[in-house]
């Protein structure tokens, strides 16, 4: 006997109990659901459940060690609304409990089966035995018919060998020589869905043959019928393939003990999933067995109706308490009768013995729990909410714990993106909170029986939602998996028509969101999840003529940050969208190694721009450690602006080069003594040199900080403000505004100046609080920089591009966020502190600013140059 749980309960010693009872919650803070009164401010009390942590450990019956139990139960923790039942299930599995059955009944997708599987997997190393009872003849829980492999071993070995040869054949001719094409057709017919053909490869799921066929109404056939069909076909194949001499003409079947007896003997959890969808008229066989399971009787017998002459199987099964494995437990699940016509009411004699425990409806907490679990492998939200006061004190400790628990005795290879997401747990919390709100509200919106509809707040939608529609689009926990699976699939990247008179179309997915390799979608998982949810809304509402429902769901999507509210209401927003929060953005990574690698990659792209023939990998061009050292030096020395070195001769010694800011704004204190000399145009930094650093973490903040100074205040040519209040435009022009917005013009060398170097004014607006940047320059930037700008929240506008005006409006909304309306004029005035322009009129404030920044005639009268180091000055 390999497992203690195979021992009958009466034979378990005190040591056995000590070894299988694992105190959950003793070492790790395990969430639990308490029942108590919530006292309102006016003293009213309401009885409710609340989420906290277990103060007294829950004794979990398991033959696994405590580390394994903790790891599994933290990762696969049931949703908060299921925690109460989890406590009951785990307590019931204890061998001291004589009642060895439990029946959970509730809405589909609530997590009932998940709970049973988790309980079975935790208790036994062999795991639970799960049986889908839909359309099943319940007698087959006790006896089932199978192909008699032992009696016809030579035939099956020969057939398997032929299949292996067939799959290794290089062309059709060779394949046809191995297996007659008609045999393939016969196998497909006789083995039903146990036969599969993909990419020229055929495969037989021998263990699945007993459940391979359904009848014309979709009902599953009994194992015996399946096996009879299989044998009839296999005999034909045997004749065609010349395998009759190996026993192929006399294939047989056998009956064997079913899963109920296996679970009883091995002391495992038996999950009877969807029990009330089993074949009508077959529940009778369960009566005696359930009486036995709940200890009304100490033994029962189930006769073998399949036994035939010569069959070695038993004529009946004898279940006895005294021999039952102590871990044996029957976990049944069923849907509520109103779910479908196929859901049956259990016979009273049965339902009175296994009283169903109702499953609570999904809550907001549950939705968030499942999103977190599926995205990261950890129920971050429940772990956090159960004792947020502790984790708030030191969020880094929580981050470490999440990683530790994610890896605790995990035997499967953890997907890399899960560990990445755990490092950004706050972003995941925020994103999943929004996704949870959306799913919760959407589930109520598409369900005409929900409280929302009952309250009459959605009466306008009732025409859009029929009972059939509700079932088709129902939103339950399984939808999360559906959305994730769809998110991982390739999607079309479609260029909208460039018709000037046509509507302005903003594609949901930019071509940059569609990676070369489909598996790289995981980097932009947030973007792709958003896409599939919006696609689901469109497909199930607008495209089905349900305009009101579509509008309602889109409003919901905007409220839940799935789409930028600007797209729905034209309102700029400071809020991060789900896509921004979940996408794996190296620019925002907390991991120093990832940040340095990104800087290195940008540097290499910069180098390739000058030397397109470079073919070496980035790691060969420049070790990340060299970049790290260069970045550290900047931090230590606090130097002026720095840019990427493009000289291959010394790039490994100096990956970064110093630059110099030369502000020509005269200073009162100088009193004309030190007249400044402007740098020569050929010694200005190129636009591209500065832009490339604006997508690089650390360098971007460093360089941007260098672009602003206090020269304007010291010049005496601008107003400092009145009555001691600093002028807001000046504050913005000098990067001192409390709004976090800073704006300036920098003179660089145009990238277009092929023969004669020319100066170019570059307008920069930086919103520090949102770390968003708008840069207006000249000429296009290359694709790799565009992609990097996307990650780094930089919008670059070529002021001569055809769509510059419309892009500029979006860019201003993006960088100024919700403050666009109030700040436009002030930002414009900030620019005018260094620039002048011919009089122009525009209808709105935003147009005023937009037109000014795009105006080629804008003249910078107080230039601030960005020059190479050391600068060569113009001759006077």
């Amino acid at each position: 006997m390999s497992s203690i749980l195979e021992k009958p309960a009466r034979d378990l010693s005190a040591e056995d109990y000590a070894s299988i009872e694992k105190p959950l919650g003793e070492r790790v803070p395990y969430p639990g659901m308490g029942l108590g009164y919530v006292v309102s401010k006016n003293g009213e009390k309401k009885l409710t459940r609340y989420l906290g942590v277990l103060k007294k450990p829950l004794m979990v019956t398991s033959e696994r060690d405590l580390d394994e139990v903790e790891g599994m139960l933290i990762r696969d923790m049931p949703t908060p609304e299921m925690l109460k039942l989890f406590f009951e299930v785990m307590s019931s599995i204890n061998p001291r409990n004589e009642r060895r059955a439990m029946y959970l009944k509730g809405a589909p997708g609530a997590g009932k089966t998940f709970l049973g599987e988790m309980a079975g997997n935790v208790s036994s190393k062999k795991g639970a035995i799960k049986i889908d009872c839909t359309n099943m003849n319940l007698y087959e829980l006790f006896f089932e018919t199978v192909l008699d492999f032992n009696a016809n071993k030579s035939f099956y070995d020969a057939l398997n060998t032929k299949i292996e040869k067939y799959n290794l054949a290089e062309n059709k001719e060779q394949r046809d020589q191995v297996l007659n094409p008609m045999s393939i057709d016969i196998l497909e017919d006789c083995l039903g869905n146990a036969f599969s053909e993909e990419n020229g490869k055929i495969c037989i799921d021998w263990a699945g043959v007993k459940q391979a066929h359904s009848n014309e109404t979709g009902e599953r056939l009994d194992t015996r019928e399946n096996i009879e069909i299989a044998i009839a076909g296999l005999k034909q194949v045997s004749a065609k393939e010349g395998l009759d001499n190996l026993g192929g003409n006399a294939l047989g079947m056998a009956s064997q003990e079913g899963p109920a007896f296996q679970a009883y003997e091995e002391g495992r959890v038996l999950i009877l999933d969807e029990l009330n969808r089993a074949k009508r008229g077959t529940f009778g066989v369960l009566h005696g067995f359930m009486q036995f399971a709940i200890n009304e009787i100490s033994e029962c017998r189930v006769r073998n109706p399949l036994k035939e002459k010569g069959d070695h199987a038993r004529s009946d099964l004898h279940f006895q308490r005294s021999k039952m494995g102590s871990g044996f437990f029957i976990f049944m699940t069923g849907n509520t009768e109103d779910d479908s016509d196929e859901v049956l009411e259990l016979p009273e004699a049965l339902s009175s013995r296994v009283v169903p425990d109702p499953v609570a409806n999904a809550t907001l907490q549950g939705w968030q729990h499942r999103w977190c679990q599926i995205l990261t492998g950890m129920p971050i939200s429940t772990l956090y909410n159960a004792q947020s006061h502790i984790w708030d004190e030191d969020p880094d400790v929580f981050k470490q714990k999440l990683k530790e628990w994610r890896e605790l005795r995990e035997t499967r290879e953890i997907p890399a993106h899960q560990l990445n997401m755990l490092r950004r747990w706050q972003d995941v919390m925020q994103a999943t909170g929004n996704l949870a709100k959306f799913m919760d509200a959407a589930s109520k919106t598409v369900n005409p029986d929900s409280n929302w509809h009952k309250a009459g707040t959605l009466t306008q939608l009732l025409d859009d939602i029929s009972e059939t529609f509700k079932k088709e689009v129902s939103v339950d926990f399984r939808k999360i998996n559906y959305f994730i699976t769809k998110a991982m699939m390739p999607k079309p990247s479609v260029a909208p028509p460039q018709d000037e008179n046509g509507p302005d179309i903003i594609p949901l997915l930019d071509e940059m969101d569609i990676p070369e390799a489909p598996e790289d979608i995981k980097r932009n998982l947030g973007t792709h999840i958003t896409y599939v949810i919006l696609d689901w809304i469109v497909a199930n509402s607008y495209e089905r003529g349900k305009e009101d429902l579509g509008n309602q769901l889109m409003q919901l999507a905007a409220d839940c940050a799935l789409v930028d509210p600007q797209l729905i209401e034209g309102m700029p927003s400071n809020r991060k969208t789900v896509a921004e929060l979940l996408d794996e953005n190296p620019f925002d990574s907390n991991d120093p190694d990832i940040r340095v690698e990104l800087i290195r990659d940008l540097l290499c792209d910069y180098l390739r721009n000058s030397y397109p023939d470079i073919t070496a990998e980035n790691s060969e061009i420049m070790p990340a450690s060299v970049v790290r050292r260069a970045i550290d030096e900047i931090a230590e020395k606090g130097a002026g602006p720095v840019v990427f070195n493009s000289n291959p001769d010394n790039i490994n010694q100096e990956p970064l080069q110093k630059a110099k800011c030369i502000d020509m704004t005269p200073q009162l204190q100088d009193e004309g003594q030190n007249e400044k000399m402007a740098p020569a145009a050929d010694h200005l930094l190129s636009q591209y040199a500065l832009l490339a650093t604006l997508a690089a973490p650390e360098l971007r903040e460093h360089n941007l900080s260098c672009l602003w100074n206090e020269a304007l205040s010291g010049s005496g040519v601008v107003s400092l403000g009145t009555e001691g209040m600093t002028d807001e435009s000046l504050a913005i022009a000098e990067n001192k505004s409390e709004t976090g917005v800073a704006a300036t013009t920098i003179i660089v060398q145009s990238d277009k100046s092929e023969n004669e170097p020319t100066e170019l004014p570059l307008h920069v607006i930086w919103n520090k609080s949102m770390d968003r940047l708008l840069v207006v320059g000249e000429g296009e930037v290359n694709d790799s920089l565009k992609r990097a700008f996307n990650d780094a929240r930089v919008i670059y506008i070529d002021r001569n591009a055809n769509n510059a005006h419309s892009t500029m409006r979006k860019g201003l909304d993006f960088v100024l966020g919700a403050e666009t309306g109030t700040l436009c004029d002030t930002v414009r005035d900030a620019f005018l502190m260094r620039n002048t322009l011919p009089t122009q009129k525009a209808e709105t404030k935003i147009d005023n600013l937009s037109k000014m920044l795009l105006n080629n005639d804008l003249e910078c009268f107080l230039p601030h140059y960005l020059a190479k180091e050391p600068p060569k000055l113009r001759t006077a």
């Binding site: 599969s196 035997t411 979608i521």
Partner: protein
């Protein structure tokens, strides 16, 4: 020569650097192979991997069980000691059947399915 013997010979014949490589390579290969999002297959993680050095290293790894047909795959699932299963490109197992077998067994394992 069996895989185990081949590994033993390689280890004996090599210096400390090669020894370290031999120890690290399977770990790196697993990490590389698990870079993609796994498919949802019961409690198991089902990774599709491309034909390449990762699959070659996994094939040589003593901790990885190689299943070439459905019977071997079933056996691998029933074996509690087996945590990782490689289905090589030349196995007679289609992805549909491999996923079905994963879902049939409650215990979670790591499956690497090598595409052709």
């Amino acid at each position: 020569m069996s895989t185990q013997k081949k590994n033993a010979v390689n280890k004996e014949a090599s210096g400390p650097m090669a020894k370290l490589t031999a120890q690290l390579l399977p770990v790196i290969a697993r990490k590389k192979a698990a870079c993609n999002l796994p498919k949802n297959a019961g409690s198991s993680f089902f990774y599709e991997i491309e034909k390449g050095w990762e699959a070659d290293v996994l094939r040589q790894d003593e901790d990885v069980c190689v299943a070439k047909n459905t019977l071997e795959l079933e056996d691998a699932f029933l074996d509690q000691k087996v945590k990782t299963i490689l289905i090589p490109y030349d196995a007679s197992i289609t992805q549909t059947v491999a996923l079905r077998v994963c879902r049939r067994h409650g215990l979670g394992k790591t499956i690497f399915y090598e595409g052709s």
